[in-house]
């Protein structure tokens, strides 16, 4: 039986320290996170933007940056998110969300946290230096960094079933998840523009690796939940998305497809021949018309295969309902959106400008090619490709398009701001976030599946949180009203 598709996104951001001769990305990433944590503790006011001035009352013009701990910085925030340095990138993991819309909001809040972190870092860097952050997956020089999704899945589903259906799923969903990219990498055949930033970097079908020989289906098995009941499916084959419709569809449709697999609903073999090669074929074709070979004979396009998944999803919705896939409202809205996007991809992909990142980016590139008569290898286009993903609100080309009314948003900015500090109310993130907000000094360690508290007397107390849906506002709001100290909380939970 399908388990509720609790989900989250973890994003490794690109990071650049500008104006410094010797840029250390681990140091820069640490400064971002430490800067943000300090800002939250002290409550710095960013309205007064004086880069050299320190809130403690003295100017840092020309001074060297303060000693920053370079052992890997790792923090959990009051919204239940985890913010840390990973492989020389700042990484932001959203709290656990129970539907795609909640996750769009949480993911966008992560971008705002990174933007706020850049502001915080600017205050302690010497004049002329700046840390800039990019939400993308490729530097154009052979290096890739990931945007990973996580989904709660029933442990009893054979992993082989997941692999079998997820391979064609990940190969074909690129048509709406891709963030667009100029050129090809990692030995892939040359192309002027492709749909996905990640496609060229996948070399295996299944495996445990994440940094080299990347597999389309990742086998990491760290459930961070009751291991008898649950699997956390760790998805590395997605792009970093800025368009909210793209994020919404990426997560919403994948949740439904996973439920289909859990409930043994896939009634035909949708496998493709050579998924690794097929992934590149699909990505390298912005017309979305390239044929891919099916294992049981014949060929079809990626969109054709997506229609098959949608057909199954509609049938599933009719027969089983979408309670496990974010609920009926979000679930059915995802189905309708999915259908509209597939129709548009078949008719004319450019009509999805403002909804899908690769289409929006391609439209921008084409506009520049048209106005300035540029070749597709012009460095200006590479700059546009990169700066689309700049997270600084005043420099981000994506944000510029949003302000020009060219992008469809699904969440209110006020809700995104709230999600920077408030956890989702529907999952255990609520309990984690609330404890951190109320008793920050008592939380010795915060993990996905436990909290360790100092209640003022030995020993430290560990609160297990093995059920992702337990610890929601509904469950624990009363508890927080009645308990004023961590000791009381622990006592109440033990009783």
């Amino acid at each position: 039986m399908a388990v509720p598709k609790v989900c989250g996104i973890e994003t490794e951001y690109g990071v650049a320290l500008r104006g410094a001769a010797d840029a250390n990305p681990v140091l820069a990433s640490s400064m971002l996170i430490n800067g943000y944590v300090e800002h939250r503790k002290i409550g710095w006011d960013f309205d007064d933007e004086s880069p050299g001035r320190d809130a403690r009352g003295f100017a840092r013009e020309g001074a060297a940056p303060p000693e920053v701990e370079t052992h890997l910085v790792n923090t959990v925030l009051t919204n239940g998110a985890r913010y840390y340095v990973d492989h020389a990138h700042p990484e932001y993991s959203t709290p656990e969300c129970s539907d795609a819309l909640e996750l769009v909001c949480a993911d966008k809040a992560g971008e705002r946290v990174l933007a706020r972190s850049m502001q915080a870092a600017r205050r302690i860097l010497p004049a002329g230096q700046e840390i800039v952050v990019y939400k993308n997956n490729s530097d154009g020089k052979g290096n890739s960094y990931g945007t990973h999704e996580n989904y709660l899945v029933d442990r009893s589903v054979p992993f082989a079933s997941l692999v079998r259906h997820l391979l064609p799923w990940f190969v074909t969903r690129q048509v709406f998840t891709g963030a667009g990219k100029l050129g090809a990498e990692n030995g892939a055949s040359p192309v002027a523009f492709q749909i996905s930033q990640r496609a060229d970097f996948f070399e295996e079908e299944v495996g445990l690796e994440t940094t080299l020989k990347r597999p389309i289906v990742n086998t990491r098995d760290e459930p961070h939940a009751d291991p008898q009941k649950y699997r956390r499916l760790h998805v590395i084959a997605g792009d970093a998305n800025l368009c909210e419709v793209a994020t919404y569809l990426k997560v919403g449709t994948t949740a439904i497809v996973l439920a289909l697999i859990e409930d043994d609903f896939v009634d035909k073999d949708l496998s493709v021949v050579g998924p690794v090669a097929a992934m590149r074929v699909v990505s390298h074709d912005p017309t979305c018309r390239a044929p891919i070979e099916l294992s049981d004979g014949g060929t079809c396009t990626a969109v054709d295969l997506q229609w098959e998944f949608l057909r199954l999803a509609r049938k599933y919705a009719d027969e089983t309902g979408l309670e496990a896939c974010g609920g009926e409202t979000v679930g059915n809205d995802v189905l309708d959106r999915w259908e509209a996007v597939l129709s548009a991809l078949e008719r004319d992909p450019s009509t999805l400008d403002g909804q899908l990142d690769w289409v929006t980016k391609l439209g921008l590139l084409r506009a520049y090619v048209g106005r300035d008569a540029l070749g597709w290898d012009d460095p200006k286009l590479s700059l546009l490709d990169l700066q689309y993903h700049d997270i600084r609100p005043d420099r981000s080309l994506y944000e510029r398009l949003v302000r020009a009314g060219k992008v469809e948003r699904l969440v209110e900015e006020a809700d995104v701001t709230t999600a920077m500090t408030e956890p989702p109310s529907t999952t255990r993130a609520f309990f984690r976030g609330r404890c951190l907000a109320r008793w920050p000094d008592a939380i010795v360690a915060a993990n996905w599946d436990s909290l360790i508290l100092d209640v003022g007397s030995d020993p430290l107390r560990r609160i297990p949180m093995l059920e992702p849906l337990r610890g929601s506002r509904a469950h624990v709001e009363g508890l927080f009203e009645e308990c004023t100290t961590p000791a009381e909380l622990v006592a109440r939970l033990a009783s």
């Binding site: 490794e12 690109g14 990071v15 650049a16 990305p25 990973d86 492989h87 020389a88 990138h89 990019y134 530097d139 154009g140 020089k141 290096n143 890739s144 960094y145 990931g146 990973h148 055949s189 040359p190 192309v191 002027a192 523009f193 994440t210 940094t211 080299l212 590395i236 390298h284 074709d285 912005p286 017309t287 390239a290 450019s350 400008d353 439209g363 921008l364 084409r366 506009a367 520049y368 090619v369 048209g370 106005r371 008569a373 070749g375 597709w376 012009d378 460095p379 200006k380 590479s382 700059l383 546009l384 990169l386 700066q387 005043d394 420099r395 080309l397 510029r400 398009l401 020009a404 060219k406």
Partner: protein
């Protein structure tokens, strides 16, 4: 397909503005082009200087 994208022929972005249905097509096309030009001018103003150097300097460590 790669060959299609490498053509040097300019391909202006066409947008259909549904609210402008009643306007004459030529006028509508001009308005759209003007809006697009304004947008590109705005983007020009925030683009990093020296595209080639900037892009060359953007190097990341491989992540997951």
């Amino acid at each position: 397909m790669p060959e299609r994208e490498q053509k040097k022929k300019p391909a202006p972005k066409e947008r259909v503005d549904e609210a402008a249905e009643v306007e004459a097509p030529a006028k509508q096309g001009e308005k759209i082009k003007e809006e697009l030009d304004d947008l590109l001018d705005e983007i020009d103003s925030v683009l990093e200087e020296n595209a080639e150097e900037f892009v060359r300097n953007y190097v990341q460590k491989g992540g997951q």
